[in-house]
């Protein structure tokens, strides 16, 4: 056996998926990515079947194929499942699978986190979709507008609120993971001007998730408090306002459209240069498009609310931004077209789907510019015109690129090519079927047919158009069935050669299918298309002449590099298989699912078990102390095995998570000020918090606890154990006292959250802050225990840095809460 074969054998052994039933404890990105992709596609097919049932119902006027209530369940679940269980997760699935090898990494930096996210997604998705088989699915539409969605009885809408909140955990987990992956795990030399465009898009989208999903989580919290406990956030009789939900929902909902669109267009950004066999034209312009769209998409949400009676000036701002977003969106499309024209255009099925995607998306974009004009929207609002518009955008901007991506990356995942012939069949069936189904809907809408009606009277001019749409929908479905057939029976197809499309990016460097280790060894990268530009690269990498060619300590390893220039910094050891993420997800799921049925005791027990599992997981699986300080990673480079404090993956992941957490918190603060704007007297004089002493005590105690945590970090750096333990213990006591007085403030003032929206929002802000302080105490005690067990020291200091970082955010939260509740009313009087 040669040296290289020995290395390869050890690598295979270390990265091998666990055998037998333990296979399900896998955490490696190739397995999780595959499970994620398959699960998301199953939900897609499920939601597609719901759509076909709806189209069957609407085929002829006055049809009674399904009842009105079933129809409500169908359209609610169709929209919700397509958006939350397919469109967003499929991007996470693809990214988890292909991003590491595209960046020249062995694995994602936090494999167990993405595994936890996957199981949350799986459990939550099955729960939400399963509800329709018990006639208990949500019926409020995919955007769940109050007051209707509050007044609807049954647990359907609770399933929507809690089930989907639970799934949002998966999205945020993926966002944390993917940001760190793009910024810190690129192959050495892959400077920021050289990273694949796909990675740019993923970075932007993951950042958008951090600011888009939390407002929905905050909204879900208020909504569930309204449904379960009758708190009046959306009840005008008690000072609430249903419009707050619309704001929070669409602050999420509009960026969401781009969260779906950008990663799909990112696939096109990989496919087009490969098909053209040349570098993409206008790399910087596409980066402009990704970042510009990402930002501007946050200034569009009110265009879903043009008919709610807001002042024209507000509509004007959002209309202007909605027109402006067309600029970056158009720029990237011109770049792709220019690349295709400039290169040798190689015909292939992925390119066919990419071209179809651009054609459909441009049409959807044009009707988007139309509905962005407020007066036009007044006419088209809530009609089939909007249904047509959004399907053109989503199917052109997401489904077609994803199918292109499936064809393109199928060999990477399975080692087999999908059939060229069936690919063409499916494309034309889908393309024609789609247009036959959705083009007439523009006219059905302009003729006045409202969306979400389960039937319509004959002779209104809708009959033929609807029948045509139904025929088209089934044609589209047959096209999708052809792809499913092809994918399931691809084993009969030819084995794919290595790099079948002759692409230039790193994910194609190895033998197919992609192995769990990602690459045989990690190369040094010198260009945007290393496989085209670097001679002998494939040979050198496969012969183990790159970094980390061996796994002689029997550990899974990848490289951490610097954010801008990708200089190798640390050899990162990533954890292997474990059932803990699955168990933690199951308990987390239990907490949400039991809460749907208001089984509070069971939900409470599940929450505690989830917390216990996560603590055990953290204790046994994180901030691992290596057996030696550094190791030779090959090519004459020696790197440390432990990333200290603020350079560690743990610190980064907490920072990113807390940015999301802060967004959710500021959405609640936005709620407070929203209520202030709609009331002449807010807080209402009779229930205002007169005595702010408890609030001030709470603030003082929590700020002191924060400073003591910083003192503990200082003490740890100098190995002064007594000072460390003393500071953290005092900090924990003060934080507990602060938490109690935070809750005592509204109690002492006699604020009843059911009486009026003011006490309700005060309770929410105080409760949110208190919950964060309690978590902060748990973290302080955890750090004390870690140090006592010698798992935390001046040299191995990640834990205390993470706790101190968390406490910065607690301090900000406490300060803002007290300033808003106790300070703002005083300033205004």
């Amino acid at each position: 056996m040669t040296k290289s074969e020995g290395q390869e054998r050890r690598l295979r052994e270390v990265w091998r998926p666990p055998p037998g039933w333990r296979y399900w404890s896998a955490v490696n990105n190739t397995q999780i990515g595959a499970w994620y992709t398959v699960t998301a596609f199953v939900f897609f097919l499920f939601a597609g079947v719901l759509a076909l049932i709806m189209r069957a119902q609407l085929a002829v006027p006055e049809n009674d194929f399904v009842s009105a209530d079933t129809y409500n369940q169908l359209f609610t679940l169709h929209g919700s499942a397509m958006m939350f269980l397919f469109a967003v997760p499929i991007f996470e699935a693809f990214a988890i699978m292909i991003l590491p090898s595209m960046l020249g990494a062995r694995e994602l930096p936090l494999p167990r986190l993405s595994t936890y996210g996957f199981w949350c997604f799986f459990i939550g998705g099955v729960f939400v979709c399963g509800s329709i088989f018990f006639d208990a699915a949500p019926t409020g539409g995919w955007f769940m507008y109050p007051p209707l969605a509050i007044q609807q009885t049954g647990i359907g809408n609770d399933i929507w609120l809690l089930g989907l909140s639970f799934i949002e955990i998966a999205s945020i987990a993926a966002a944390v993971e993917l940001i760190i992956a793009v910024l810190r795990t690129r192959a050495p030399g892959m400077r920021i001007n050289l990273i694949p465009l796909y990675a740019w898009y993923i970075l932007v989208v993951a950042g958008m998730i951090l600011f888009a999903f939390p407002p929905l989580i905050a909204g879900d919290l208020l909504f569930e408090l309204a449904r379960a406990f009758d708190w009046p956030f959306f009840d005008p009789a008690r000072g609430g306002d249903p419009l707050l939900w619309q704001h929070l929902f669409w602050i999420f909902g509009h960026p969401e459209v781009y969260i779906i669109f950008l990663p799909a267009i990112a696939l096109i950004a990989m496919i087009v240069p490969t098909a053209a066999q040349r570098p993409v034209v206008g790399y910087s312009w596409i980066v402009l498009a990704a970042i510009g769209t990402g930002f501007i998409s946050f200034g569009l949400w009110v265009h879903h609310m043009f008919t709610t009676g807001l002042p024209n000036i507000s509509l004007g701002f959002f209309s202007a931004a909605s027109e402006a977003v067309a600029i970056p969106t158009g720029v990237q499309i011109f770049c792709f077209l220019a690349t295709a024209y400039a290169g040798r255009f190689v015909r292939s099925v992925p390119m066919l789907f990419a071209a179809g995607a651009l054609a459909i998306f441009v049409l959807g974009g044009l009707t988007g510019v139309m509905v962005a004009i407020a007066p036009f929207d007044f006419q088209a609002h809530d009609t089939y015109f909007v249904v047509a518009h959004l399907h053109y955008v989503l199917i052109g901007g997401m489904l077609f690129p994803v199918v292109a991506g499936v064809h393109y990356y199928f060999p990477l995942a399975t080692g087999r090519l999908l059939s060229e012939r069936l690919g063409r069949w499916s494309f034309w069936l889908m393309f024609i079927g789609f247009n036959v189904a959705f083009l007439p809907m523009h006219f059905t809408g302009l003729a006045g047919m409202p969306r979400r009606v389960y039937t319509y009277a004959a002779g209104l001019g809708f009959d033929t158009l609807n029948l045509v749409s139904t025929v088209g929908a089934f044609l589209l479905a047959i096209g999708i069935a052809v792809i499913v057939y092809d994918a399931l029976f691809a084993k009969r197809n030819a084995r794919s050669p290595d790099n079948p499309w002759r692409a230039g990016t790193l994910e194609w460097i190895g033998r197919l299918p992609l192995l769990p280790w990602g690459l045989r060894s990690i190369p040094e990268v010198h260009g945007r298309y290393p496989l085209w530009e670097q001679e002998h690269l494939v040979r050198d990498v496969r012969a183990g002449r790159g970094f980390l060619p061996d796994a002689n300590e029997g550990r899974r390893e990848t490289l951490l590099t610097s954010t801008i220039d990708a200089a190798a910094e640390v050899c990162l050891r990533v954890p292997g298989p474990s059932f803990l993420p699955m168990i933690a997800a199951a308990f987390t799921g239990g907490a949400f699912i039991f809460a749907t049925y208001k089984w509070w005791f069971a939900a409470g027990v599940c929450s505690l078990l989830a917390v216990a599992t996560i603590i055990y997981w953290l204790w046994t699986g994180t901030s691992d102390q290596p057996e030696k300080p550094e190791k030779d990673v090959g090519r004459g480079v020696t790197l440390p095995l432990y990333a200290k404090g603020a350079s560690s993956v743990g610190w980064w992941s907490l920072l990113i998570t807390m940015i999301g957490d802060m967004t959710a918190y500021f959405s609640l603060v936005f709620g407070y000020f929203f209520f202030w704007t709609i009331h002449d007297d807010f807080p209402p004089p009779e229930s205002a918090l007169q005595d702010s002493r408890w609030m001030m005590i709470a603030l003082a105690a929590l700020l002191a606890a924060w400073l003591l945590t910083l003192l503990a970090r200082y003490a740890n750096a100098r190995d002064r154990a007594a000072l460390f333990h003393g500071a953290l213990l005092a900090g924990a006591l003060l934080a507990s006292a602060g938490t109690v007085s935070l809750v005592l403030a509204p109690v002492a003032a006699g604020l009843d959250p059911k009486a009026h929206v003011y006490p309700a929002i005060v309770w929410v802000l105080a409760g949110w802050t208190a919950l964060h302080a309690v978590l902060g105490v748990a973290m302080q005690l955890y750090a004390i225990a870690r140090r006592a067990r010698q798992r935390l020291s001046a040299r191995h200091d990640i834990d205390i840095h993470v706790v101190a970082l968390y406490w910065h955010f607690v301090a900000i939260t406490a300060f803002v809460t007290v300033a808003v509740i106790a300070g703002f009313p005083r300033v205004m009087t």
Partner: protein, 128 residues
């Protein structure tokens, strides 16, 4: 090798890329919040925007100025040395130029988008 590269011409920061769009977003939110609060707190339903329009004009001048400064800095960064586009060399200089060029493009987009948003206040003068 890395210490010198990372500090070439001051350390390039990824966040500077976002300075233009962030200015747009701040301007957009300020305009929206100012007008919304003005209209919500004014006594009559179709009250004139008056002071809110002045405020929006001031925000716009400041935002356009900031964007222009960012664009100027980015232009100089993009023109550093002699190399021309596409800035895809494996050198700290090209990384530096690339970031400058992308920042320049983003500040251009932001400039246009700020003008778009401000135009709403040119044409609409009251809270109707």
């Amino acid at each position: 090798m890395t210490a010198r590269n990372e500090t070439l011409h001051g350390r390039d920061h990824l966040l500077f890329l976002c300075a233009g769009p962030a200015t747009w977003f701040a301007h957009f939110m300020l305009c929206y919040v100012t007008a919304a609060v003005w209209c919500a707190k004014s006594a009559t339903a179709g009250a004139p925007l008056g002071g809110a329009r002045v405020a929006i004009a001031i925000y716009t001048v400041i935002a356009l100025f900031i964007t222009a400064v960012i664009a100027w800095r980015a232009w100089r960064q993009h023109r550093f040395g002699h190399a021309s586009l596409p800035h895809d060399d494996d050198t700290p200089e090209d990384r530096h130029r690339f970031l400058g060029f992308a920042t320049l493009l983003l500040s251009g987009l932001s400039f246009v988008a700020i003008v778009y948003v401000a135009l709403a206040a040119v044409f609409i003068g009251d809270c109707a």
